[in-house]
Symmetry: D2
C-alpha cells in the first residue's frame, strides 16, 4: 500500500510499504477513507519529537472501514465505518479508568503516527479497537466526523473543560489557529458573556470572529491586557486559553486572568516559561495543562449531529491521497493558503 | 493602649497608641485576649510588603471580647467572645459571594495588620464584624481557636482543598514549617494512603511525623524525586503541596506530581519560577495558587471541638503581651527556639 | 400609598396603606417602578400558604429606585436604581455563606410578600439591601431586569444547575408554564443535544418551541415515555426537570430519566408522591429539590446584557399599578389570556 | 466441580456441576480460593429476583487464582491471584466510560451469580477479566481483599461518595447491618464531625460503635428525629445514608436531613416509598440511589494496605466450601449467630 513515511528530520515520502496485519487480539485493521494533517505532524518532520523513528507512517486522525478484527474485539465488526481517534485507550489502566485516555499506561495514549504506524496510509492497524474507535451515526458526514478525531476534542477538553468555561464568563483565547478556533467554537457551547480572540494576524482574527469570537485583538498593535481589562470590568478574564505554545503567549495568559480564574494551556511548548509567582501566589489562580483524552467524543458527535457545532467550517482544502504531499504543502504554508484543516480522501481505485 | 507598631523596615516597638473606635456601622471593637505572630509579620518587618506603612499595628489573628459594635452589626453582641479571622469579608462583593473572601473587593480581604491596624494590641477595630468573626463554641479553648485564625485554614484551604486531596492518595508536603504542618494535619483528615514530608531540617521532619507524615525525606541528603517515585508506584504524587515559597521548592513540586495530579502552592513567593512546560504541557497537571479565604472556619471549629484535629499541637511558646518583643524573638529564631506558634495573652491588669 | 393587600383566603384589595420606613440598619426603602405577579401569589390567595397573615402586602419581584437607606448599608445609595430579588440574604448565616440564600436562617430567604410586606406596592422595605438588591447595568432594560427577579434564576438554578445540564444531553422539561419556559431558555445556554417539552396544552407547547424546545409532546395524546425513549437511544433523558408540581408529573419525571441521570424538581407540591424505589434503587438516579437562591443573578444579568438570553420574551401583558387587579386577572386566567409574565408599572403621578 | 446451585425459590444445593470454560476471548477462568455470601443471595433464594433462573450458581465475590484466559485478555495471566469483583465491566460502553460499571450495557454489571454462574463454586468464569478483576498487592491478605469484592465499595460509593460526606459533617447511617457498617467505616475516612448510627437492635448498635459510630440510637425506644436535631444544632444531618431497604427507613431518612443535605439510598427496596414533596420541595435536598460500580476498588485496596481501613473487622465466621450450607445458615440467622461476613475457603484437596 501507499503511506506517508517519515524518513528522519526534514524528510518525508509518499511511499510503497507493507499493509498492516492484526498483531494483538484487540486490534482492528481499518481501510482509511479520509485522513488529515495535524500541527504535530509538522513538529515531527522538523525533528522536534525525537521518539519518532525514521520509517514511521505519520497521521493520527482517520475515518475508515474496518477490514479485519482480532479475536478479542467485541464492539466493532468488519465492514463497519468508524472514526479512528488520535488517542488509543487500553480501557483498563488507572488513567483510562479515570477517562484520562491521553495518559494511558496500558499501551495506548498518543501512539498512532508516533510510536506505531499511523493513518496517513491506505490501511492502518488500530490497537484497542473497542475503546479507540467510534461508530459514525446517521446525520454526521465523514468529513464532519474527521474533525472529531483530534481538533474538536482538543479545543473542548483541554481548553474549555479544563479551563471550566461557564455561562456568563469572559473567555480569552490566545491564538486563532485551528486549535484556538476549536476552543472558540466549543467555548461558545457554554454561552460565555464574551469570547475575546487574540492573535497577530488580522486574517486569522477575521476567521475567529466567524467561529464565535465576540471581540478580536491584534496584539501586535493593541495592548491585550488593557483591552481585556476594559471588557471585563477591570477584573480580567474568568478563563484564558493558551493555544499557541510560546513562552510569551503563556506568560501573557497569566496576566489576563482574574482572581479565582483559570489558565488552560493547550499549546505544545518546547521551552520553560516564567511563572510570576510573586504576583500570582495570592490570586487563587488555577493553571492546567493537558493532552487530549477524547472522552468527549460521543458528546461532540451528538452536538455535530444536532447542528450545534459546525464541524465543516474547519475544512478549507480537499485532496486525494495520491496528492498527499500537496496536502502537506498547503497545510504547512497556511499563512499563504489560508488552510485550517485539509481533508485527504482515499484515491478511488 | 499598648500595641506592636511597625516603624518601617527593621523597626518595631511595643508602644502606647490610641485605642480604636467604631468608624463604619459594620465595625466591632474587640479587646484582644490572645494573639500570635505569623510569618507574614516577619515579611513586613523585613520590608518585603511595601503597602504596609510605618505606624501600622501588626497582627491578623486574635481571640477576644467584643466591647462595642456599630449600628449595622446584627450577629455579634457586646460581651461576646469571638475569633477574629485573618481575612475580613464584606460579604457582598462578587468574590465574597463565591466564598473567596481572601479576594474581597468590597473593602475586606487581608487588611488587618496590613492595610489597617491589626490584632497585636490591647484592642482592635474589626470591620465587617458579622462576616469576619466567629463565636467560640463550648468545647474549644481560646488557644485552640487562635490556631483557626490563619494557620489551619491556610493549610486546609490553599493546600488540601485546592490540591484536592482524596482518600487513598499519595500526598507530598514540601516544607515542614507551621503552614506545612497545618497542611499535613488537615490532609490527614481525608485519609490519603501516604503523606510524605520533605524538608532540609531533621528536627522539623521529626515534628512532621508527629503531625501525621507517614514518611519524611531530608532533601539535603536524599533525592526527593527518586524517593517519591519509589513510594508511588513510579507514578509520582497525586497532590504536591508547596509550603516554602522558594523557586527551587516550587520547581521541585512540579517534578514530583503524577499525570492528572495537582500542585497546590501555599508558599509566599518573591520571584518568578520556571514552569517546565516542555515536559508538563501534555501531563494533565493542575497548578493552583491561593490566599486563605477562611470559608472553612466553621468546619475547622467543629473538627477541633470533636477532637479530630489537634489544634493545640502547634503551640510551643506562651507569652504575656508585655513580653511581645520576646514573643517575636522566639518566633523569629524558630531554628533555635523550636517555635511553631507562640501564644501571646493580654497582660492581666 | 397604594398596595395589593391579602385579606385572607380568596380576598385581595388594591388598598391605601402606610408607607414603609427603615427598621433595621441594613434596610433600604425602594420606590417600585415595575413589579409583577407570580404563581406563588396565587397560591397565597388560594389559602395554600398558611404562614401568610391577612393584611400582608404581596409580591416579591421589583425594579425600583432607592429612596432611603439604613446606617449599615454600604453598597446601595439613595437614587440608585435596583433589582429587588425575590430572595433576601443576610449574607452571614451558614446557608448564605454557601450561596444558598433561599435557605437563609439569618432573617432572609423568601420573606417579601410572604413573611413581611412585599413589592406590589408603591414602596417596599428591602432588608439586607447590600446582599438582596442588584444594580441595573447599561444595556439591560427595566423590564428585562424584572424577569431576573425570580423566574429566570428559578428555572436556571433549580432546574438547569441542580439538574446538571451538560452539552450534548437529552433534557426533558415537564410543564411549559412560565417557570418551565425559563428552564427551557436557560437549559439552551448549555447546548444540550435535545430539549423535549411535555405539556397537555398545545398552545403552551408552541410557545415552548419558541423558547428553545427542539421537540414537544402533548402527553394527553402521546405516551411521553415511548417518545423520550425513542429520542434518547432507548436510554431516557440525562436530565428531567419537573416544573408543574403535581404527583403525576413528578412520578412521570422519575420514569423518563436514564441511569446515572438527574431529576430536578422545581414544582411547588402540596402532597407526597410515590417514589418507586423498587425500580430506582439500583439505577444511580439523583433527585433534587430546591427553592431559588438567586446566586446566579449576576450571571443572568450578563447573559441578558449580551443578548444570549431573551428576557423580554416572557412578557405578554403590561399594566399600570392602578390596574393591579386587572393584572392579577390576566395572570390568573392565563389559559384564556395567554399570559406568561405581566409587567405592572408605577402609575405616573 | 462442586457449586452452590439455586434450584428455584427456597431451594439450594451444594451440587456437582460442570467446570466452566472460556467462552469469550475476554474471559478468564478463576479457581476460587475464598468466597462469601451476600444479602442479595438471600433475596434470590426467597424468590425476590425473578431474573435468576433455576440452576444458576450463586455468589458474586471471590478471591482466587487464574487458571485460563481467553485470547483477548492482556492484563491478567494464568497463575495470578486476583479479586473477582461483584461487578463486571465491559470497559467500553457509555456507562463504563463514565466509571459507572454497575450500569454497564455492554454485557457487564451485576451478572455473576445473577445472569451467569457465580463464585460460590470451585471455579468461576469471569467475563471481561481485564476490567473486572484486581491484582492482590503485597500487604493485603486474601480475607481482607474479599471484603473489597462488594461490601466496602457498596458502602463507600453508594453511601459515602454519592452522599458527599465531607470533613466536619453530621452523618447519619440508618441500619447497622454489614452494608451500614461499611458505610460507617468508610464515612470515617472523611472525618465527619459525628457519625450517628440508627438501628432497632442494641447488639448491632454496639458493633456500629466499634466500626466508628460516635453516637448510636435505638429507634424502637428513642425518637431519632429529636436525637439527630439535638446533635446537629437543630438543622439535621448533612448526609443521611439509608442502609436497610424499607419504606419506613427511607421516609425517616428524608426527615433527618438538613436543608442542602443529601440522602443516599443504599437499601434494596421492594416497594415504593412516599416522598414528602410538600415539605421537601423547597429544602434543596438531594436524594441519590445506586448500585455499586466498584470504581473505588483500587483506592480501597490502598487504604486497606495502609491500615486505614480495617477490612478484617467484618469477618465473623469461617467455613470450608464443603460446609457451604452451614455458611448460609450462619449468615441467614445473623440475629442469633452475630454473623457479619462469613468467609468460605476452598476445601483442601
Amino acid at each position: 500500500m501507499r503511506a506517508l513515511v517519515f524518513n528522519g528530520p526534514g524528510e518525508k515520502s509518499w511511499a510503497e510499504v507493507d499493509e498492516p496485519t492484526i498483531i494483538d487480539a484487540t486490534d482492528a485493521i481499518v481501510r482509511v477513507d479520509l485522513t488529515t494533517v495535524c500541527g504535530s505532524d509538522l513538529h515531527i518532520l522538523r525533528g522536534d519529537v525525537p521518539e519518532v523513528s525514521a520509517g514511521r507512517i505519520l497521521g493520527h486522525e482517520a475515518v475508515g472501514t474496518v477490514t479485519a478484527i482480532g479475536a478479542g474485539v467485541r464492539r466493532v465488526a468488519v465492514g463497519e465505518r468508524v472514526l479512528v481517534s488520535c488517542i488509543s485507550s487500553c480501557g483498563a489502566c488507572e488513567y483510562c479508568r479515570l477517562s484520562r485516555y491521553g495518559q494511558c499506561v496500558g499501551g495506548g495514549g498518543w501512539i498512532l503516527g508516533h510510536l506505531i504506524n499511523g493513518t496517513q496510509a491506505e490501511f492502518v492497524r488500530v490497537p484497542f479497537a473497542d475503546t479507540s474507535t467510534y461508530a459514525i451515526p446517521e446525520g454526521v458526514s465523514d468529513e464532519e466526523m474527521l474533525m472529531i478525531a483530534d481538533i474538536l476534542p482538543t479545543g473542548y477538553e483541554v481548553g474549555v473543560l479544563l479551563g471550566t468555561v461557564h455561562p456568563g464568563d469572559v473567555v480569552v483565547v490566545i491564538g486563532a489557529g485551528p486549535v484556538g478556533l476549536a476552543a472558540i467554537a466549543t467555548a461558545a457551547l457554554l454561552s460565555p458573556e464574551t469570547i475575546i480572540a487574540i492573535d497577530r494576524d488580522d486574517k486569522r482574527l477575521a476567521v475567529a470572529a466567524e467561529f464565535g469570537a465576540d471581540l478580536t485583538v491584534n496584539n501586535s498593535t493593541i495592548d491585550p491586557l488593557a483591552f481585556v481589562m476594559e471588557h471585563s470590568g477591570g477584573q480580567g478574564a474568568h478563563v484564558v486559553i493558551e493555544a499557541v505554545g510560546l513562552v510569551e503567549t503563556f506568560e501573557l495568559a497569566t496576566t489576563l486572568v482574574r482572581p479565582v480564574g483559570h489558565v488552560a494551556n493547550i499549546g505544545v511548548h518546547g521551552s520553560p516559561a516564567s511563572l510570576h509567582l510573586e504576583t500570582l501566589w495570592h490570586r487563587d489562580v488555577t493553571i492546567t495543562t493537558g493532552l487530549v483524552d477524547t472522552f468527549s467524543t460521543p458528546t461532540l458527535i451528538r452536538l455535530v449531529a444536532s447542528d450545534q457545532l459546525e464541524a465543516k467550517a474547519f475544512i478549507t482544502h480537499r485532496f486525494s491521497m495520491n496528492d498527499m504531499l500537496d496536502a502537506y504543502d498547503a497545510f504547512e504554508h497556511a499563512g499563504d493558503s489560508g488552510a485550517l484543516k485539509v481533508v485527504i480522501a482515499a484515491t478511488p481505485q
